[in-house]
Symmetry: D2
């Protein structure tokens, strides 16, 4: 299953798979004294990717929250392959997949623009919460977008 790579070419997947690519540049604030980016900051870039992915889906996370649905993280994972460094330009590739009516998974790939090297891969799982903080079904349009036809088999 492609994660964030160049657009899948087959019409079947093009029709349903949603992915996005976000460009970030490493800030000095994000480095640590090892002269690489501090590991926790990768999750902030994943958030940038996720936000853009949701925006591409036709609604923004800001709107979702305005409607009373929040999407807190219940699980986060990252594998670090090569260090990101100050001033590097990076592409955050993001994809989403519905795990259940109340739960959605995003996967990420972090690519260094200068040479295409993969720097990290990651994954976050989110649950829909209503205004009272109780789990709730994600809005129908969100479910429609991220519920890929082949997701049942995964």
């Amino acid at each position: 299953m492609s994660t964030g790579g160049p657009a899948p070419e087959s019409e079947d997947t093009v029709a349903t798979a949603l992915h996005s690519v976000s460009r970030v540049r490493v800030r000095y604030a994000e480095t640590d004294q090892m002269s690489v980016v501090y590991h926790a900051n990768y999750f902030v870039w994943f958030e940038v990717g996720r936000t853009d992915l949701l925006r591409r889906s036709g609604w923004s996370y800001r709107e979702l929250e305005a409607e009373g649905v929040s999407l807190p993280v219940i699980e986060a994972h990252c594998e670090y392959l090569q260090p990101a460094r100050y001033d590097d330009e990076l592409d955050v590739r993001a994809e989403g997949r519905l795990m259940s009516p109340v739960r959605i998974e995003f996967t990420y790939e972090l690519i260094r623009v200068s040479d295409g090297a993969p720097l990290a891969t990651g994954r976050t799982v989110h649950v829909g919460l209503d205004r009272r903080g109780r789990p709730c079904r994600l809005p129908a349009r969100v479910r429609a977008i991220f519920d890929a036809p082949d997701s049942a088999s995964r």
Copy 2:
């Protein structure tokens, strides 16, 4: 005017001046590739000092917010004297002073514990806001605590 130093000895100021000392240890996350603490993070330590100072005053900022009063920063300033480094233990000395019924100023001094060296001095100004985001008078007890006798003359 003392800022965060050892308790002022004169009874007049002892009676009214409130200050606090908070201990923090520098986190790796707070350093940058210059092998010192990134400058913006000093303001987070000032927040730690301010929070403890408010707690010492008899109410916490958490309680204040629960009552519907928030204290956003409208001005922030820091002068950096010597760099803080990873794993350093630091004391944040904080003091508060009412500027008007809706406005309060905190001053900070950051001291390296190992040798007492001053690393930074800072200042933040805050305004009281009600639940609708409009400026509001700070609670009476807060005003009583931070309204030093000599503040009228400043």
Copy 3:
């Protein structure tokens, strides 16, 4: 007493297992507009736990770096059970285990002090690097401390 790893089974393992508990208080800077702590910040607390654990082992991470060995993160994972909130006092429980001569795993449990509720569990994997950035064996004393008697069988 043991947390985040296989329970110590006997006096032998009790004697060698090393764990630590670090107290942190949630900073306002660590919250987000969901009124809970932003998920990436849990990894910073894990770093606080890991640093204290290493300090308890008889050497500090600062000293380790001074000797030319760094321990970058190559994998990070967190599961979020209940949200941490502003001003909460939290205990970070950390344990370490040697995975190979060049690789070490730390596991974490985050506990809310007021009621003992577990808020999160996590795991980071680190690799020893020398000054040139090449994988290197961890110092002998580190290997001795974190190489639990039963680790060979895991």
Copy 4:
């Protein structure tokens, strides 16, 4: 067009004054539970502006560090006019001015793109340090760029 500093008075100064505009979008990680951006994060955006300004000048801060000159902050100031909120697009306008051969000042203006509202103004002062951490003259080309014709009189 000039922002955050004395208005360019003539074509001469227009010719030499260097400024830049950087676009950022507010990250969820940057908000706090007041549902606005945490005040310390504005300084990170100022860094983004300063970095782009330096890049426009013909050399990057990354290159400067590679040559052995670092530019740590010795003073930082920000005034907050209106809150920045999640997902807002913001323009960071930055300008630089040499204060002495070893010291440079940057001023910033933060503008909300949607309506042009000014959200904050800021200022940082930096000193050139050599590899040993001693104050040093900034490279000649940097001094040439930021040494405005009228700066001698200020």
